[in-house]
Amino acid sequence: MSIIQPFEKPLGMRDTLPKLYTHHQTLRTRAMSYITKNGYEFIQTPSLEYFETIGKISALDEAALFKLVDNQGEMLVLRPDLTTPIARVAAAKLLKEKNPLRLAYNSTVFRAQQREGGRPAEFEQLGLELLGDTSALADSEILRLAAGLLRELGLEDFTITIGHAGLINQALETLIPSAEEQQRVREFLVEKNFVSIDRWAADYKQSNPFYAFFQEAIGGTSLKDLLQAFPELATDETKQFVSVIETIETLPELKNVFQVDPLVVSHMHYYTGMVFEVYGAGSGFPLGNGGRYDDLLKQFGTEVGATGFSIRIDHLLEILPTSTEPVTRRLLYTTQSMYAKALDLAAEYKQQGEFVTIQLKQAVQDTESFEKNFDQVTDLTEGEL
């Protein structure tokens, strides 16, 4: 461990400086208004949760959790995701009052980083959860709002890739005989390592229906044709998937922005139905993801359907065009005796929508460099001295 310099922050922690903060705030306001208008209510859950419950259920690698011990000796975690705490509140309280339940959140989550910069350990997520509805229409509502939100925020070039946990599980289980092999291939899919799947298939002596499925899927065969070619995959769940896709094909929000890929497998193992990832041109990392996670609520003793998505605000900010509202930043130099006049004048400027800074001139050491931070300067001290 090297000596910590005064300017350093713990690995992965970031400051949000004024410019970014403003940009961030504009985005947040627009997003929140879009989400509330669509019937979702925002909630906030605590930063700290028990390791035994949220920490274990949240499906994240234990190494990624920030752990600490409280004064009772209990192990705590800094919340690593929001879906799990929201499932906790919903199961314990809110679903008893309103079911189906539509909730939204905009909070930071904490995930410890092992490696170099570029990866924050605390980042903001914006998301929706629709609890208590297992229908295909609920899934398509989530997809519609994910796309609608991105469009609302001004993102043009993005893609939503949709898969289905039930479909890929069915494919793995019916097309690969041994459970051990199923697990191996699933891991290759999570890693998106197609070479390992090619190699696994090359070692295979008998005919390999899963590899045939894999090649069809990678070649872009449509969902309908896939289900026709592999009739053993047509379960009630996969039929629901087809109906989700048929619904969203008619929605204007999703026009030309989604693709179906049955090979999408999330590393979050709690997904049970449709799963999706959101990608935006210009960011090397996914903007967000979502899906149906009916099993998660079971862990909190309630059996209801749940579906939702979350967006990484930091990745989104990187690629969104900066839409700074045209505002005049005015500097008002004053003296002690002119202060009352300065306040009156400031009130007038503020009325006109300007951002006004009142500053005692003699307290500024380098006026030239200070003034560079403003669009307009009014000097009440002129002619005073």
Binding site: T159, K192, F194, V195, G220, Y279, G284, P286
Partner: protein, 211 residues
Amino acid sequence: MDFLTIAMPKGRIFEEALELLAAAGYQLPEEMEDSRKLIVEVPEEKLRFILAKPMDVPVYVEHGVADLGVAGKDVLLEQQRSVMELVDLKISYCYMATAGLPDTKMNDVAPRVATKYPSIATSFYKEKGEQVEIIELNGSIELAPMIGLADRIVDIVSTGRTLKENGLVEYEKIVDITSRLIANPVSYRIKQQRIREMAKRLREAVEAEVE
């Protein structure tokens, strides 16, 4: 149409990869490798090549500044970055192995292993249930056992000549290494059609080559 950006290691892998791309039907100019240029564009095919250090290729791809890359499996195993492995190009074949002085056993107390691949070496010995001390070196790994720095080395072996000339023998083979076509997961979606097509054409070219 946007450019597809491909990160490539300089040198032999670059040449071999270009041959494969040509075999896959991509029209590339004759003289591509100018030793000083770091970015080479082929406007006719809308391709842009970034020439990088082999270890850096997955970094460019992971961050999405390159859509695709050609990287050795050794580098991919060592770095564990979140990139997609699309095609085994089956070029620059070699393998990862442990080696040491002939007829020697690992020190019982604190066996030491020198390597350029600390994470591959660590996980290999961990899986074997052996606790070793890993010493990271940047090159000429063969020196380590010769002068008593380490009992074993973990390194790539292609012909075995370097080992032989330095009086070392191979002990265990760890994994086969070839170069892979890798992709940034976002690019794979945003530029899906072109990337899938390139992967398909390359896969066919590789198969034709192998036969």
